[in-house]
Every structure is written in structure tokens, then in C-alpha cells.
């Protein structure tokens, strides 16, 4: 027989002690769902973004998603499109995004950071160098909208080999037949997209979402975070009853947009207004539960 032995599972980097795993373990111990906050790197400019990022954990963010701005965000609604364009206009680059994470990580060693975006800026970085730099900066995971399981050899498998969590989106169209493929190389958590649609548009129905989360949980032990369309503390509280974490994004970048002056520059209230919203949203998970 000249068939090669199958690679041992134990040879893969252990995922049991990533920051994301530890954070979900801590949330379970606190018997509450987590708040995942999305902000766009470099929005509205690099300096203001650094202050927002630094303030998020104290405001109540359990996990931080950092958007990597892209000129053509095909799955995003107007709010996040605008945030990406603001960041690009202010001169944001992938190197600056990674540097921002590194600066954050020097002060905070426990709050997980997940980079979220589209494949092209990573592809041209290119992939290997990106994974090295991201890991080195203290990035914990990746969510790449246009890298489905069929394309796993492009980024997912190399990322997992580097010890980064690759977090997959499951959607209402991810049926029972497809779910195993979506879960196969996913780690950290599963991101359930609560609507078919783009970010920040229709509001999800909490009962529907709970049923879908329950369906996914039958197939995986991973925590499930729910996002897309969650905007108010009431929604956060309702969704959280049937999920391990709730993701908010459009409401935060909209708050940033509303705080800017007529020239699109940050004002004295920019940082505080977005952190204030995060506090309000987080309170929905910490009281009355």
C-alpha cells in the first residue's frame, strides 16, 4: 500500500486557547451573551479611530470587529459603505489597519480582535505576508465576506495554519445540506447573518433568529453570534436570549457619521458619542438577565 497516512488532527494548531475561545468561556461563566462591535479601521481618521478602538472594551465591547476598508463592499449597506469611503479618503491602508491593532494590543491583551472585510486587499498584500503581520500584531480572527468554503485554499486554510480563527458567515440560505461545509473549517465562533441582505438594513425577527441559531447549534459546539440589522438595546436584548453574542455595526458607524462636522472632520463629540452608544447597547446584556 502506498497511500499516505491521513494527517493527524492533533497536528493542527490547537484552537482551545485563542483569545476568542477564552472570551466566550468567560461569557458563559458570567451567564450572559457577548456584545461584538464593528468599527471601520481609519474611520473617520486614523487618530480618532485609535481612540475609539481603545475605548471600546471599557464601554462594553466583548469582541471587536475591525473593518478593513474596501472600495467595493458588495455585501454592505449604505452606512458601512460610507464608513469605508471616509477611511479611505482619510488615507487608511492595510498597513495602517494592522498597526492600529498592534497599538491596541500593546494596551489590551484580552479583548479579541477580528478583522472583517473583502479578499482583494489581502490578496494583493499578499496573503502570506498579511497573515504574518496580522498574527504578529495580535489579530485573533478573520471574517472575509467573499471567501466561501469552496475557496478555502485561498485564505482560510493558510490562516488556520497560522493559528488565526477563521469565522464563517452562515445565512438564512445556508440549508441543512450546506451547513456542514460552512462549519468545516470554522473556528472561534459562527457569525449568523440574520437576514438575507446587506448590512444595516432590515431588522431581524428575534423568534426566527432563535430558531435558526438553535438549528446551527445542533451541528456545532461553537458559539453563535448574530448580526446584520441589529440597532437598538431592545433588539440586542431580544436577540441575545437565543444567541451567544450579538453583533452591532451600522448603528456605530452611523453614530460616527452624525458626529462629524460639515467638512466630514471629527468633532469633540465623535469618540464619546460612539462609545456612549456602545454603553447603551451593552447595558441590554448586563441588566435584567
Amino acid at each position: 500500500m502506498d497511500t499516505e497516512p491521513a494527517p493527524e488532527r492533533s497536528e493542527r494548531p490547537s484552537m482551545t486557547d485563542t483569545r476568542i475561545d477564552k472570551r466566550f468561556a468567560a461569557l458563559r461563566a458570567e451567564r450572559r451573551a457577548g456584545l461584538v462591535t464593528f468599527v471601520m479601521a481609519g474611520d473617520p481618521d486614523a487618530a480618532t479611530f485609535a481612540r475609539i478602538l481603545e475605548g471600546l472594551p471599557a464601554a462594553g465591547a466583548d469582541i471587536i470587529e475591525v473593518g478593513m476598508p474596501f472600495s467595493d463592499p458588495m455585501a454592505d449597506g449604505p452606512a458601512i459603505q460610507a464608513a469605508g469611503l471616509r477611511a479611505l479618503k482619510a488615507g487608511q491602508t492595510m498597513k495602517k489597519t494592522i498597526a492600529a491593532v498592534k497599538a491596541f494590543r500593546a494596551k489590551d491583551q484580552t479583548t479579541p480582535i477580528v478583522l472583517m472585510g473583502y479578499l482583494n486587499p489581502i490578496y494583493v498584500y499578499p496573503v502570506d505576508a498579511f497573515l504574518n503581520d496580522a498574527k504578529d500584531a495580535g489579530v485573533d480572527g478573520l471574517i472575509i465576506v467573499d471567501a466561501p468554503p469552496e475557496m478555502d485554499d485561498e485564505l482560510c486554510l493558510p490562516a488556520v495554519a497560522k493559528g488565526l480563527n477563521f469565522i464563517r458567515l452562515a445565512t438564512p440560505t445556508t440549508d441543512a445540506k450546506r451547513l456542514p461545509a460552512v462549519l468545516a473549517n470554522t473556528s472561534g465562533f459562527v457569525y449568523y447573518v440574520s437576514i438575507t441582505g446587506i448590512t444595516g438594513t432590515a431588522a431581524p425577527d428575534a423568534a426566527d433568529v432563535h430558531a435558526q441559531v438553535a438549528r446551527i447549534k445542533k451541528s456545532t459546539k461553537l458559539p453563535v453570534a448574530v448580526g446584520f440589522g441589529v440597532k437598538s438595546p431592545e433588539q440586542v436584548r431580544a436577540i441575545a436570549k437565543g444567541a451567544d453574542a450579538v453583533v452591532v455595526g451600522s448603528i456605530l458607524v452611523t453614530t460616527i457619521a452624525l458626529s462629524l462636522d460639515k467638512a466630514g472632520q471629527p468633532t469633540g463629540k465623535t469618540v464619546q458619542s460612539v462609545l456612549g452608544i456602545v454603553q447603551a447597547l451593552a447595558s441590554g446584556l448586563r441588566d435584567g438577565m
Partner: protein, 418 residues
């Protein structure tokens, strides 16, 4: 079993792609959001079955013949040939033919693809159609088939293009389509495609997206190519009838590249046939972000569901590009062209805005045919290439669209008021 003299199948066939994952070499694939993946896999299944279903093929052939008006004529452009021979040495100056796809119903090759895809949408039980359009030729073709098959239709079109292609916008209105003017980005074709994808991801259950060019996630590039290949298949027969042999040289313009791949594909394994694709050179390839020549002025990247050559900056942000022609004003190109470029089977060149404008007027005056600005780019290159070829060379240019839609824009560029 095999004798030493058995030849292995030609490993360099250019006509067998893509592979089962949708790759042409390293190009293609399916880089889409998870929401769309089940639908795209479903579409691939339906298309695979339809392709080998004689009933589907018969219905499509009937529509092509009796609704679209195929086959389109192969026309010997005698005065254009004479014109190019004037500047050629003795014994040079190719014999120039036009493949007249501008004579199709709706005025361009776009109808070939739309008829195929609307039949597929019906087979899949979809009840709503969306599409993107640049010059409006694809939008008009989509609106046309939606009128014929009684399906609601929404067209995404960049606001800049809505302005410079008013006649087509009005046609789409008349045909019953809803036009959504897209203001994000530069308001051109790529922005329209982003917005169409956002609609699709939102309405995935009942909506079919008729992509207009041979790009996007697998199986679109192969499917659109197959529907457009009727152009090249007809040409083989027509040239055999006219000249008793295959053509020597093929020329077509390239935006996403659907008319070109339709002309080229049936000839890819005929190695004696020289093939040229003409990109939009805009203000010139040396002008940053001033052209739409993704292969001659771009690098590989991932956008709109496929890996291909893209106009982009060093950080992977997509550039808008520029062309006088709304139909070529796109920062990417179909993945099969990207592969044919890398393998050098096809030579990709470019024509500038000015050259296309000159060719537009030349064709109109010499042949009495007003070409669209898109094929005017191909024609501009023909006027340079033909004089360098022997006078026995049979050159075919795909005249893929008519220029009625462009007369206002051209008048503007020439400083005339209509």
C-alpha cells in the same frame, strides 16, 4: 494498453475550460458572499442540465432565429479594406469583414446572452429579474426579454452612464423596466454591479441576476461565453461559404469581454487564427486611472465573484478607470480573457478615446454603418493592423453594436449641438 505512438490529449487545448471549480488557469472561481453560494450552485446544476437538454437548445435556437434575427450577416467591408490598403505596401492590406451583430434585435450582441439566461431563469422558477448595465445595451436586452416573458425587471445603471446614454435609458423605460441610477463611486458599470449584487443578496429567493458580461462567479463566465459563442460558430460556417476557409485574423473590443469571447472561443484551438482583443485606452495607458485597460494596465485581484486582471492601487482598492465608451468603462475583465492573456493565445492591445472617435466617423462615412463606440475601439485597431497583413489575410471584426445610442455623446465630443 497505450502504444508509444499514442498521442496524449493535447494538454494545451484552449477550449476546455473552466475546470469544475470554475478556474481558467488561476483566474475565475467563485468569490461571493455565503448568502449567494447555494443559489450559484443551484444555477450551475440547472445550467449543466439545460446545456445538454435538446428542448432547451431548440427553444434557444428558435428565439435566436425568429426573435433576435440570427444568424447575423458576415459582411465584406470593401471600402474599409480599400482605405487600409492605401497606406499599405504592395501586396498588403487584409481583406476586412464585419460580423454584423449590431443588426440583432436590440442593436447589439447582448441579446444572445439574455435569451439564454431568461430561459434558465424560467426553468429555475425565478419571478424577478435584475441586471447591471453600462452603455445600456445589456439593460435594453434584459428589459426586452423581460417584456417578452412578462417578468418584472430592475436595472442598475451608474448615474454617470444614465446621463451619457439617455436614449437607452428611455428604451428601458418604454420596455417596462425600473431603472435604478447608482450614485456610489464614479457612478459607472462597477458601481452598478455592486448595487445589483446587493439587491441579489437581499432578494435571493425569487430573483435571478442576468449578468451581462463573461465575468462574475462561476458558472457565469462559462455560461455567458457559451451563449455568445453563437457568434463564432456562425462565422466558421459563413467564412467557409464565402472564402472556402477559416479566417486568419479576429478582432473584437473588450470591456468585460462577452462579444470577444463569443467570437474567439470557437477558434481558440485553430492555432493559425491570430486573435486580438482591444481594450479601452481612454486618455492613454500612461495616464493613471485614465483608461479601462485592465490587462494592459492592471494586476490580478478578486472582484465581483472572480479573480481576474483589475485596475487597482497598491493597496488593493479598485480604481474607477475611464473610457469614452460606457460599455468598456469597467476596471476588470472576464477571467477567460485574463487566462488567454497570460497564456498568450490572444494578443490584447488598446485604442484610445480619440482613436475610437475617429474610427466611429470613418466607418460611418466609408461603409454607411454607424458603429457603437465599443466596436469603434476594435475598428481603430483594425485600421492599424490591416495594413501590416498580407492582402490575402481574411480579417474579421465583430461589429457588436450599433451607434445610434452614442450620437449625442459623440456630438458632444465633437463640439456639435444636436
Amino acid at each position: 494498453m497505450s502504444s508509444p505512438k499514442t498521442r496524449t490529449p493535447n494538454p494545451n487545448s484552449f477550449a476546455t475550460g473552466p475546470d469544475e471549480r470554475g478556474y481558467f488557469g488561476m483566474f475565475g472561481g467563485r468569490f461571493v458572499a455565503e448568502t449567494l453560494m447555494p443559489l450559484i450552485l443551484d444555477l450551475e446544476g440547472h445550467y449543466t442540465r439545460a446545456k445538454s437538454d435538446p428542448a432547451f437548445q431548440a427553444q434557444l435556437a428558435d428565439l435566436n432565429a425568429n426573435y433576435a434575427g440570427r444568424p447575423s450577416p458576415l459582411y465584406f467591408a470593401e471600402r474599409m479594406t480599400e482605405h487600409c490598403r492605401k497606406s499599405a505596401s504592395e501586396g498588403f492590406g487584409a481583406k476586412i469583414y464585419f460580423k454584423r451583430d449590431e443588426l440583432n434585435h436590440t442593436g447589439s450582441h447582448k441579446i444572445n446572452n439574455c435569451l439564454g439566461q431568461i430561459l434558465l431563469a424560467l426553468r429555475m422558477g425565478k419571478t424577478r429579474i435584475i441586471a447591471e448595465t453600462g452603455a445600456g445595451q445589456h439593460g435594453v436586452a434584459v428589459a426586452t426579454v423581460c417584456a417578452k416573458f412578462d417578468l418584472p425587471c430592475e436595472i442598475y445603471m451608474g448615474a454617470t452612464d444614465v446621463e451619457r446614454q439617455k436614449p437607452n435609458v428611455f428604451r428601458m423605460h418604454l420596455l417596462g423596466a425600473k431603472i435604478n441610477a447608482v450614485t456610489s463611486g464614479a457612478g459607472t458599470l462597477k458601481d452598478a454591479m455592486n448595487e445589483a449584487l446587493r439587491d441579489w443578496v437581499t432578494n435571493v429567493k425569487d430573483t435571478y441576476y442576468i449578468i451581462g458580461t463573461a465575468a462574475g462567479p462561476h458558472p457565469y463566465p462559462a455560461m455567458v461565453r457559451d451563449f455568445q459563442s453563437v457568434i463564432g460558430r456562425e462565422l466558421r460556417q459563413q467564412m467557409m461559404a464565402a472564402e472556402g476557409r477559416l479566417p486568419d485574423t479576429l478582432v473584437a473590443c473588450i470591456g468585460g469581454g462577452s462579444n470577444a469571447i463569443g467570437l474567439f472561443h470557437p477558434f481558440l484551438d485553430d492555432r493559425t487564427v491570430k486573435i486580438f482583443g482591444v481594450e479601452a485606452g481612454g486618455h492613454g495607458l500612461g495616464v493613471e486611472n485614465g483608461h479601462a485597460a485592465s490587462m494592459n494596465g492592471g494586476r490580478p485581484g478578486v472582484l465581483h465573484g472572480n479573480r481576474t486582471y483589475l485596475l487597482q492601487d497598491g493597496d488593493g482598492q479598485i480604481l474607477e478607470g475611464h473610457s469614452i465608451s460606457a460599455g468598456l468603462d469597467y476596471p476588470g475583465v472576464g477571467p477567460e480573457h485574463a487566462w488567454l492573456h497570460d497564456t498568450k493565445r490572444v494578443t490584447y492591445v488598446s485604442s484610445t478615446d480619440k482613436e475610437a472617435l475617429a474610427a466611429f466617423q470613418l466607418c460611418t462615412k466609408l461603409e454607411g454603418i454607424i458603429p457603437a463606440l465599443e466596436p469603434a475601439h476594435a475598428l481603430a485597431y483594425v485600421t492599424k493592423l490591416a495594413p501590416t497583413l498580407p492582402d490575402t489575410d481574411l480579417l474579421v471584426m465583430n461589429l457588436c453594436g450599433r451607434g445610434d445610442k452614442d450620437i449625442f455623446a459623440v456630438a458632444d465630443h465633437l463640439g456639435m449641438k444636436i
